[in-house]
Subunit: 472 residues, 3 copies
C-alpha cells in the first residue's frame, strides 16, 4: 500500500492562471475574504441553532441530508439506503460504511463543486490532510468523528466561527416559528436567524392535500377561509406573523412563473370549486397563478422580498420518491419562460417602490435573454445569482458574463447558498467571492473597468447588494 496522497487547499484556487489577472483577482478577493457571511436564503433547520445541537457523526453531517452528495453516488451505482437516505436506523458501522462509499467514489466527483466544497470542509474545518480513498476512509472518518464529539463544534459555535451574520431558514406558513422566537429572545445570541415564508403548497389547489392545508392555515391565522378573500387574508396574516419573527422574504417555487390575474369573482368561483374538490386541472393552475399574483401584491404592502425558484420536475423518479421521499436528488430542471409569465405582476407592480423580486433559474438561457433585460429596466427586479446545479465555478462565470453586460452589478442579488449542508456554507460563500474576483479581474485586465471600481464592486456584491435587495 502506497503512502496516502496529501490533500491541501491552494491559496490561488479558482483564480485565473495568467499572472497579471491572478494578481488583480488576489487583491480583490483579499479585500472581501474575511467579511461576514450574509445568507438570505438557506435550508438549515432553525432548531439546530436554537438548541445549539452537537452533530452525531460524519455521515449524518456530510452525506445523508445532502442530495448533491448522494445523487452522484446513486448515479454511479450506490443504493441510497447505504447512504442512510430514508432511514433512521443507521448504526455506527453503517455510518462508517457509508462514509467509505463516499471515499471510494471520490473520483466520481472530480470537476464538481461538491468535490470543491468537500475538500474545503475537510481541510479547513476538519483538519484532514489526506485525499479520500478506500485506504484513507477510516482515518478521515475518525478525524471527523472526533471533531463532531468536541464540544467546541456545536451549531452556534460554528455560526460564530463561520462568521454568519444573517441566516434565513425556509419555513412552512403554519409553523409557529418557536425556534426563531427563542433565538430572537435570547440575549446571548447576537447573530440574526430569521424565517422565510414558503407558501408553495398552499397555493396549489391541484394538490390532493390542498383542502387540508387551507384548513391548517385558517387555524394558524384565525381567519375564516370560506371564500377567496378570507383565504387571502389568512395568507396575509401569516406573512405578518413571519415578519414579526424577523422574516424579510417569501420564497416561491412553482412549475412556471405565470402571474396571470383572474377576475376576482371568477377566481372566487374556482376557489370554492376547488374547496369542493370540483376544480379542473386547468382551473387549479389558473387559480395558482392568480394566487401568486396576490403574493406579489401583498409584497408591495408588507415589503417582504420575493425569491422565485421555478421550473423543476420534483421527484422525477416516482419509485425513488415512494421509497425515500422528497429532496433526495431526483429533482430535474426544465426550461422556463420569464418575460411573458411575470408580465401581469410587473404591469401591476413592477415600478412599485416597495417591491423587490429576485429571479433564480436553472435554465441558463434566460440569463441574457430575459432576466437581465428585465432587471435592467424594472427597479423591482433583480437577477438571482446561480442556484443549485448552477452554483458551480464555470456556471457562475457564465452567469456574470451573461448578465453584467445588460444589467451591470447593481441589479444582481448577492450570493445565495440555498443549502441544507451547514458546514458547506463558508466554502460556498468563499467560492462565490473568488469567482466574482475572477470576473472583475478579467474586466480590469481587459481595460473595461478600473481596479478601484472593481474593488468597490466586490465589496458591494458581498455586503451591499444582499442588504439592499433583501432590505436588511
Amino acid at each position: 500500500m502506497s503512502a496516502p496522497i496529501s490533500l491541501s487547499l491552494h491559496p490561488d484556487r479558482l483564480f485565473p492562471v495568467d499572472a497579471s489577472t491572478r494578481d488583480v483577482a488576489r487583491r480583490l478577493y483579499e479585500s472581501v475574504k474575511d467579511l461576514p457571511i450574509i445568507s438570505p436564503h438557506s435550508h438549515v433547520p432553525p432548531q439546530w441553532i436554537a438548541d445549539d445541537v452537537a452533530f452525531s457523526d460524519p455521515t449524518s453531517l456530510l452525506i445523508t441530508p445532502d442530495h448533491y452528495v448522494t445523487r452522484m453516488m446513486h448515479a454511479n451505482g450506490v443504493r441510497l439506503d447505504d447512504l442512510g437516505v430514508g432511514r433512521n436506523d443507521m448504526t455506527a458501522d453503517d455510518s462508517r460504511a457509508a462514509f467509505r462509499l463516499l471515499c471510494e467514489h471520490w473520483g466520481d466527483y472530480a470537476g464538481t463543486p461538491v468535490r470543491y466544497w468537500l475538500e474545503n470542509e475537510l481541510v479547513d474545518i476538519f483538519g484532514v490532510t489526506v485525499r479520500p480513498s478506500p485506504e484513507t476512509a477510516d482515518q478521515i472518518y475518525d478525524a471527523i468523528q472526533a471533531w463532531v464529539g468536541d464540544g467546541a463544534n456545536t451549531a452556534r459555535k460554528l455560526m460564530e466561527r463561520f462568521d454568519i451574520a444573517v441566516l434565513a431558514t425556509t419555513d412552512d406558513p403554519c409553523d409557529n416559528l418557536e425556534h426563531h422566537a427563542a433565538l430572537r429572545d435570547d440575549a446571548t445570541f447576537t447573530r440574526r436567524v430569521v424565517p422565510t415564508f414558503r407558501p408553495d403548497k398552499y397555493l396549489e389547489p391541484a394538490r390532493a392535500d390542498w383542502n387540508q392545508l387551507v384548513d391548517d392555515i385558517s387555524r394558524a391565522s384565525g381567519e375564516a377561509v370560506d371564500d377567496l378573500p378570507g383565504f387571502l387574508n389568512a395568507l396575509a396574516n401569516r406573512r405578518e406573523y413571519f415578519k414579526a419573527h424577523g422574516a424579510f422574504s417569501s420564497d416561491h417555487s412553482h412549475f412556471d412563473l405565470d402571474t396571470t390575474r383572474l377576475d376576482e369573482a371568477e377566481a372566487n368561483r374556482i376557489y370554492l370549486a376547488a374547496r369542493r374538490g370540483a376544480a379542473s386541472a386547468d382551473e387549479a393552475t389558473a387559480l395558482r397563478r392568480h394566487l401568486v399574483w396576490h403574493q406579489v401584491r401583498m409584497a408591495t404592502e408588507d415589503g417582504l422580498v420575493l425569491t422565485l425558484h421555478p421550473a423543476v420536475v420534483r421527484n422525477h423518479h416516482t419509485p425513488t420518491f415512494e421509497k425515500y421521499g422528497a429532496d433526495v436528488g431526483a429533482d430535474i430542471p426544465v426550461s422556463v419562460e420569464v418575460s411573458r409569465a411575470l408580465r401581469p405582476a410587473l404591469e401591476s407592480f413592477g415600478t412599485h417602490p416597495n417591491l423587490n423580486l429576485v429571479i433564480f433559474t436553472l435554465d441558463e438561457t434566460v440569463f441574457s435573454r430575459e432576466i437581465a433585460p428585465l432587471a435592467g429596466f424594472y427597479p423591482s427586479v433583480f437577477a438571482g445569482v446561480p442556484w443549485w446545479f448552477l452554483d458551480a465555478p464555470d456556471a457562475i462565470k457564465r452567469f456574470r458574463r451573461a448578465v453584467t453586460e445588460t444589467a451591470g452589478f447593481t441589479r444582481t442579488s448577492g450570493f445565495i447558498d440555498d443549502t441544507r449542508a451547514f458546514c458547506s456554507i463558508p466554502a460556498r460563500h468563499d467560492m462565490s467571492r473568488r469567482l466574482d474576483a475572477c470576473h472583475l479581474a478579467d474586466l480590469v485586465v481587459e481595460h473595461r473597468l478600473a481596479e478601484d471600481e472593481a474593488a468597490q464592486i466586490i465589496t458591494s456584491l458581498v455586503v451591499d447588494q444582499p442588504r439592499k435587495v433583501f432590505k436588511l
Copy 2:
C-alpha cells in the same frame, strides 16, 4: 474633495491579456481600425444629415433618446421624466440635472457596453479626461456643451469625421423620403445615406390602426387595396419607391419568424374580413405570416435584402408606455424558433439567387442550434451579428464561438450598429473590430488558423461581408 480620477482609453482595451495573443490581436485590429464605417442598419433620423443639424445640449444628444442609457438609470431608481423622456420642455437646468444623474449613476454602468461606448465618446469625441462623478458632472457637461456649440460638430461634419461611408436609416413605408432625396440630389454630399423599408405595422392586421395604415399605403402607392392582391401591389410599389431612393434592404420585427403561406383565396378572405374588422386573432396572425412570406417573395423580385429582428415583447410595462411612449427601454426579449418558422419561405425561395436574408436574434440559443446550421446550407441565409442587448463584448465573443464552427465567417452579416445614438457609432464599430480581432487571434494562437488568413478575414468582415450581404 479629492482630485478627480482621470479617464483615458487604453490602446489595448478588450484585447486578450496573454502577450502572444494580444500581439496578434493588435496586428489584426491595426489592419482594419481606420477603414470606413459601413452601417447597413441604424436608427439615425435622416433629417439630421439632410439638414446638417447642430445638436443642442449634452442630455438630448447622449441621454434622452438612448434607451440603453435611460433604462439602466430607471432600473436604479431614476424617473424617466428627469432624463427628459417623453418631454419637450427641458430647460438648460433640467438638462444639466439629467446629466448629473448620469454621472451619479456612473457606477451602475460598470461592466456594460453602454459604459464602454460612453467612455469612448467622452474621450475621443468630446475630449473629456476625468471620470464622471457628482464632482465632475458640471465640468463634463460644460465641455460637451461647448463642443455641441462649435460649428465644427454638425451632423454632416461628424459623418466625415467618423468616416461613415454608408448609413441606412429605418423608415415608414409611407414616408416620402424627402430627406433621402435631398441627400441623393446634393452633389456636395458624397456619403451614402439610404432608407430601409420597415413595413411591420402594415403587416399586422390585429392592430387597432391597421385599416387606417392600409388606407395610408393605398394613398402613398396609388394602388387600390380592395383585395389582397391590391394590397400586395401597394407594398411592392412602396418597396420600389424605396429602392429608387437607394434602399437596399427591408427590416422586419414581428413576434415570431413564422412564414407559413396560406392558400391565396383563403388569405384574401381573411384580408377582407380584417378590413371589415371581422378577423379573429388567429386569422390576423395567420395573415401576418402569409404577408411575411410575400415579403420574401417580393425580395426575390426586387432584390431588397431582408433583415429579421424577431421575438421581443414591445412596451412590456403598459403604464410606462402610456406615459412615455415606445422605445424607452421597456422592450423585453423572448425565445425564438427559426428552423420551422422560416421553413415555408426557405422551401419556396431558399436557393433563389436574388434572395439574401439576415437573421438577428436576442435569443443566443439559436446561434449554434438553428441560425448557423441554416446559414451553413442555404445560400440566401446569413447569421446577423449580435444585436441590441447582445451587442456587447462577451456576447459578441459567444456569437463568434457559436457560429463560426458551423458557418465559418462568410455566412455572417458584418457589423450592424442598429443605433439611434449617433455619436456612439464609431465606438460601436471599433468595438466590433477589436472583438473580431480577439476571436481571430485566439484561432491563430491555437493553431486553428494561419495569421495571413486571419488578416484577410478581418478585412472581409469589415468591408466585404457587408457589401456582399447587403449588395452594396
Copy 3:
C-alpha cells in the same frame, strides 16, 4: 504566381496558449494520443471493410459523401451536382473539377472543424504539404489520387493504420448483416466491426411506407405482425439477430424524445388502424412514442445500449431532397425537451441495472439544464458527447464546462465520431483527446483537480467510459 503557402500541423494545435496550462495539456494528451480508437457509433459502410475496398478518387473519398463538406460549399454558391452529389456519372475530369471547387472555397471553411479535420487528413494521411488553393488544387488532387491507387491504402489496411479497435456501423433492422457476418467469421480480421440496430422508420406509423416496412420486418423476423404484440416480437427478434452479429447498441433519432406509454389495448387499436391507413397524425405520433418506450423496455431485456439523437428537421429543403435525396446537409436542428419526454421510460426503467441510455443533442441548452442533472441521478443515463454540428472545438469545450460540474466525467459517453467520412476518424478522435486534455488542464491549473487525477480521467474518457457505457 507566388510560391504556394505551406501546410503543416502544429504539435500544440488546439492547446491553450498559456505556457503552464499548455504543459499540462501536452502531458495529458501525450498519455492517450496513441491509444486505439473505439468508435461505438459511426456511419461507415460495413461492406468497405468486408470487401477491403480500395477507394477510387479524392472527390468520392473526401467530398461527395460528406455533407459537412458539401453543405458549406452549397451555402457559398456551389451546385451540389458539381460536387457529385446525387450522381453516378462523375468522370475523372468532373472529380478533379469538384476537388478544385473545394480548394477554391478553402477560405470558406476557416474556423470550422471540417477545415481542421481536412488539414489533418491532408498532412497526416496523404502527405500534402501545401495549402489548398486554386493554384495547388491539381497538385493536391494528384497526390491523393496516387495515394488512393496505392494498394497499401485499402479499407482494412486503414483500419490497422488508424488503429480502430471497435467500429460500429448503423444498419437497417431488416439488413441480413452479411458483411458483419463475413467479418466476424474471418479469422484474419482481428478488429471488431459490429452493426447498430436503427429502427427509426419502423417506429413511425405516419410514414407513407410504414405498412411496407412492417411487412418487411415480419418477413425478416418470421413473426406475424397481425397485432401490436406480434410487431413488438418482430422488433425484438431483429434486435436479437443484431446482437448475434455483435451489436451492442440501438440508435434512435425521432423528432422528439417523448416516451409516453399508451394503454396496451389502446396502442393495439391504433396499430391496427395505422395498418389500415386509418390512424390520425396524433395517433401515429402517440404510437411512435409508445414504441420507443418499448425499445427501452426491450433494452432492459436484451441489454442493447440506446443512443438517442433527437430533434432534427430532416430534409429541410424539399426541392433539394427531391433532387438529391437525404443526407446532403439540409438537416436542421430544433430545440429539444428531455426531462419530461424521457420521464415515462425512466419512471419504468431508470434504475434498471441492464439499461444504458446515452443522450446526444444539437441543442446545447439541455446540457446543463436537463441532461447533466439526469445523468447525475439515474444510473442508466449518460450524457453523450457533442454530436454533429457540435463536434467542434469550442462546442466541445462548452459541453465539458456545462456537464462536468453536475455530472462529473463518469456519466459521459466517451467520444463518438458519428461519421461516414472514414479518413476523418483519426483526426476526430485526436481532436477530442486534445480538447479533453485542454479542459482537464484548465481544472489542474485552477487547482480544481490534481494532475494525477486528470491523467487517470483522460485515459478513462478514451478507454474506460466507452467500454463501460457501451458494454464492450
